[in-house]
Symmetry: C2
Subunit: 198 residues, 2 copies
DNA sequence: TTGATTTATGAATCACTATTCAAATATAGA
DNA sequence: TCTATATTTGAATAGTGATTCATAAATCAA
């Protein structure tokens, strides 16, 4: 019996993230991924069924991690909705600023995956959204959040803004200070949802 | 001498918008575009240099139209910054809700084009952004807009939100009422920028 | 009607690259 | 050491689809 040397599965995934981020999924060659991973092209197909499955794995990992984190947050009862909302933004922010390459891949390919696979490309993404909505709806019940805001519209709008901003940071990170980005995003998001009497 | 019959150039562009919106630029075949346009594949190359040039033309048309409209708006001196800001949102909203297919193409391919062509994929997009910034900065000078907001961050965030929302409307338009979308977008955008004393 | 010129065609070309698979290699246990 | 089994390899395959170009068709002017 022979044992696998090293961890090619991980090597391949990391290489794919790097290559996809640099040249975009569609323009990335499997041979390049293999080269960066330090394995043969044949090995790619030992660990992944095909090119698209590699991309899906990248997404799954990101959204699963976010989902699991958010699940814990939602179920805490020592925090009020505003505190949860604030933590949620931090959580998303941290997940995407942890790796510029991952941020770029997610931002660039989410659309294709999301609308290309009608059944939903990863269950964790859908579940993650639902959890986020729960936090917002909790806040609406106690009227700390504006109950007139449409949750679905809110979610699309602010996630879209988030995405665009993070991509631009990832591509041109000298233009943005991360601390300022975080502060601005929180400011925008809260202004959009807090119930403010004027 | 022979005169061209009909307007194949336009037919091809409209067909490309339709096909690209349905299957995504990368998965769209030139033969399909030709079929929908009712011309031969050879004709595509009489009117456009290659596939990418067709995509670029779609973008150029959209951003040029928006740029020209915004230029007129910016230079009016019978409107204050808040009124201009409001009109600007209407203008963008109308441009993208006019054609679902165009909205989908723009939303899906803007990233690839924007970051694939470092010199800027269309001058009109850049100029359009500059004009928008001018409106915001005017408002900051008179302090009707919050001068602490970073214009660049604001712009990326709200355009990103806009984009995400419009795409989802274009793909699943039964989920969103257009009037409600417009109202919500204005609410979010103004909440993000207005200088409100609390 | 004819010839010149422009426009349109679509089969053939050509480049590209994801994927396969037969062979080679490495390891563990006997 | 030797054999069985698992792993790795990369050249060959195979499918795709953008683009080309020789040919045909249409129009106009003479």
């Amino acid at each position: 019996m022979r044992i696998k040397e090293g961890n090619k599965e991980t090597d391949i995934l990391l290489a794919a993230i790097k290559v996809f981020a640099e040249t975009g999924y569609h323009n990335s060659k499997m041979s390049k991924v293999a080269e960066v991973a330090g394995v043969s092209t044949g090995s790619l197909y030992v660990y992944y069924k095909n090119k698209e499955q590699i991309l899906l794995k990248i997404f799954e990992d990101v959204w699963k991690k976010l989902h699991d984190g958010l699940l814990i947050l939602v179920e805490r009862n020592d925090l009020n909705p505003i505190e949860k909302f604030d933590s949620m933004i931090d959580m998303i922010f941290d997940a995407f600023t942890e790796s510029q390459a991952v941020a770029i891949v997610i931002a660039n390919e989410q659309h294709h995956l999301q609308f290309g696979n009608p059944e939903g490309f990863t269950e964790y993404f859908e579940k993650f959204l639902k959890l986020g909505e729960r936090i917002v709806e909790e806040g609406m019940k106690t009227e700390v959040f504006n109950p007139n805001v449409d949750v679905k519209i809110f979610r699309h709008f602010y996630l879209g803004g988030f995405r665009e901003l993070i991509t631009n940071w990832a591509v041109n990170n000298e233009d943005f200070k991360l601390s300022k980005l975080r502060q601005n995003i929180k400011f925008f998001a809260k202004n959009g949802i807090l119930n403010i009497k004027r």
